[in-house]
């Protein structure tokens, strides 16, 4: 589905990613863990195509096609979706009208059908009805912003979903709702990349593969047991192991 080959990325003159290799399979869930500032979000933004993230070496393939130089618009239209760690406020544009616009890019559906679909997806995420009339992310609480990201994902059903710190700023109840929502939207045609500092969301959504990133490189990979090890011992031991290489 998504194939990242030896990716080197710099941001404002500073190299952040230093040779990332990752193969994302259809229908699987991936977790990328690591301490703050190691390049996890950089990877997310680079896959989504933010122009400030410069690829110096390597490439990104989506279904065999090189997308390294495509615009964010083109990537989104191919089926790549990034749920932002800090969703951006768009005053004056209601959630409903925004969602209809982005859904219309994918498929033209009638207003009646849209309203029905929206209602269904909102109840999935335990969002109350009035929410659709509010301006997008404008004055939303942290939890509302995150729910709104997942609501977008639920509606457009992208093929590759990157969740950038979706668990940050969520209390236990909200985390449960968001996690359940993600699980119910997930299907065998979708791949999910969960980027997180903490292991707690992975107690709700079990990843198929786990990678640990440090200083712009993957330093460990494994399965759920790697998450458990990090939960018990933190990241320091990995740093030590890695520094001996």
């Amino acid at each position: 589905m998504l194939d990242i080959e030896d990716l080197h990325v710099e941001v404002e003159g500073k190299e952040i990613l230093r040779g990332i290799n990752l193969y994302i399979e259809k229908g699987k869930i991936y977790a990328i863990m690591g301490p703050n500032g190691t390049g996890k979000s950089t990877l997310a933004y680079t896959i989504a195509g933010h122009h400030r993230y410069k690829v110096n070496k390597g490439r990104i393939l989506f279904k065999g096609k090189d997308i390294t130089n495509l615009s964010p618009t083109e990537r989104a239209r191919l089926g790549i979706f990034l749920a932002f760690q800090y969703p951006i406020e768009i005053p004056g544009v209601t959630v409903a009208s925004f969602l209809r616009t982005i859904l219309n890019i994918k498929e033209n559906i009638s207003l009646v059908k849209f309203n029905k679909l929206l209602k269904e997806k909102m109840s999935l995420l335990e969002i109350e009805e009035g929410f659709a009339k509010r301006y997008l992310n404008d004055g939303f609480s942290g939890g509302e912003k995150k729910k709104c990201e997942i609501l977008q994902m639920a509606l457009i059903e992208p093929e590759v979903v990157i969740l950038d710190e979706i668990d940050s700023g969520l209390d236990v109840d909200a985390l449960k709702v968001v996690s359940n929502g993600i699980k119910r939207v997930f299907n065998s045609n979708m791949s999910i990349i969960i980027i997180t500092h903490y292991s707690r969301i992975l107690n709700y959504i079990e990843p198929d593969f786990v990678y640990v990133m440090m200083n712009g490189k993957f330093v460990a990979s494994g399965k759920k047991d790697l998450v458990n090890a990090i939960e018990e011992r933190g990241y320091e031991w990995l740093e030590e192991v890695n520094s001996n290489v």
């Binding site: 615009s71 979706f81 768009i90 005053p91």
Partner: protein
């Protein structure tokens, strides 16, 4: 002017310049006498015009606002009569005029959602219709020339009382050469609950359009009037200088909505004012797109206790354009209230200014006024200014003033494009969001049109 811009201003098409009569270029006493003679006007109106002409000559050009130095009063045709007789139906009009209004969607709008419509082409109203239902209730909706003939007493009583010729140089000019415009009379307690619309079209090169609109809303009545304006693009300038006078009596409510989309060679210098009496409501809802220079400050003089004024405006200044717009509210009686919201967008070197006055008289005990100006600036070449004036003569009032300047951020654009919107769609959505508080006050069809027009303006530079 580049071909690109011409192709993107959708209403830039031109008809052949056919007309029954066109006055000589330039302005003189003879021109005015000629206009009055062709219109077969009563003596009092001719005198009104000639007196106004003297005032026009005696007044200097306003120097406190936008640059008007390229406006040459001698290079303009002040009166162009396009047809001999007004059409009783659209079919009666010459094909090219009918096609023009078809292209502008005017007859369709009439059929779908209007109580009545008036279409002005160059100097004269060519079509005017009010649905029977309103006519039967005593509503009058005719062009102002017809009103001078058929309702001389009403016209004589009110014309020039709200905006006198001596008010400013352009109100004097309009008073001297006015032609067309709407005359509306709504009797006591009659609610015209679907809008009346007038459409103004300039076609000829170097043409001046000087419509004169007079609206009288009797006690307890309601009216929503909409006007739309366009013109083709020429390399030389055209001048649109209208005067709008509105009298809103006790407990009445008038909403006046404008969607102006002049081509970028038009000087749009307009005086609009309403008198609001006890417990009445006046709302100016204004969408200013296009034109070379616009000077427009819709005003409400609140003479009656409890009167209310709402001034909502959106202005878009693109390349080579200066939108100098705003509003004036005069609180002249107790417990009056006003609300001004101005949203401006400047792009590609365009300049938009908010110029406003809030005056609260010593008599206006317990009044409240609020002013909010938001500017959105696209690039470093564009400019936005605010010139808010507050004159407060009473201590027992509530006053608020807020202003903001914002930019579209890279992060907003990335967020939206990462959802599949193109760069243009993302910009258009952000602008749509910015003007939403005003756009929602337009009737749906017009809000859609406003957003569409803004998208066209954005298309000129965002690919």
């Amino acid at each position: 002017m580049s071909d690109k811009i011409i192709s993107e201003y959708k209403y830039g098409f031109k008809d052949p310049e056919e007309y029954i009569f066109r006055s000589k270029k330039g302005l003189s006493r003879e021109t005015i006498e000629e206009i009055s003679w062709i219109k077969m006007e009563p003596e009092w109106m001719k005198r009104f015009r000639l007196k106004a002409y003297e005032i026009f000559i005696s007044k200097p050009m306003p120097s406190w606002g936008p640059d008007l130095s390229e406006l040459d009063f001698n290079d303009i045709y002040y009166y162009i009569k396009p047809v001999d007789k007004k059409g009783a139906s659209w079919e009666d009009l010459p094909t090219y005029i009918r096609n023009t209004f078809e292209k502008l969607g005017v007859p369709e709008a009439e059929r779908k959602y209007l109580a009545g419509i008036s279409a002005q082409y160059e100097s004269e109203s060519v079509y005017n219709n009010l649905k029977k239902r309103w006519e039967n209730q005593g509503v009058i909706f005719v062009d102002t020339d017809t009103a001078v003939r058929e309702y001389p007493e009403l016209v004589k009583q009110y014309i020039g009382t709200v905006v006198p010729p001596q008010d400013n140089k352009f109100s004097a000019l309009n008073s001297a050469v006015w032609s067309g415009g709407s005359f509306i009379y709504v009797p006591k307690n009659v609610h015209v609950d679907i809008p009346l619309q007038a459409y103004f079209r300039i076609n000829a090169q170097n043409a001046g359009q000087f419509e004169r609109t007079l609206i009288i809303a009797e006690e307890g009545s309601y009216l929503h009037y909409i006007e739309g304006c366009t013109a083709p693009i020429y390399s030389t300038s055209s001048l649109h200088s209208a005067v709008v006078e509105i009298i809103v009596k006790r407990g009445a409510r008038v909403r006046y909505t404008t969607i102006q989309n002049w081509s970028s060679n038009v000087y749009n210098l307009v005086t609009k004012r309403a008198f609001a009496y006890e417990d009445s409501i006046v709302e100016w809802v204004d969408g200013n797109l296009g034109s070379k220079v616009s000077m427009k400050y819709p005003s409400v003089y609140m003479y009656g206790k409890g009167a209310r004024a709402e001034l909502l405006s959106v202005a878009f200044a693109g390349k080579g354009q200066h939108q100098d717009v705003g509003g004036k509210v005069l609180h002249l009686a107790p417990y009056t209230s006003s609300n001004i919201i101005s949203k401006s967008i400047s792009k590609d070197g365009g300049r938009s200014s908010y110029r406003g006055l809030v005056y609260i008289d010593s008599l206006a005990e317990g009044s409240r006024a609020s002013v909010r100006c938001d500017a959105l600036i696209f690039d470093e070449y564009s400019r936005s200014d605010t010139y808010p004036t507050m004159k407060i003569r009473n201590n027992n009032v509530l006053l608020s003033h807020e202003a903001s300047v914002s930019k579209i951020t890279e992060e907003q654009l990335f967020y939206l494009t990462s959802r599949g919107l193109t760069n243009l769609e993302a910009n258009a959505m952000l602008v749509r969001g910015f003007i939403e508080p005003i756009a929602k006050e337009f009737p749906l069809e017009y809000a859609v049109e406003l957003n569409r027009l803004i998208k066209i303006q954005l298309e000129e530079t965002i690919g």
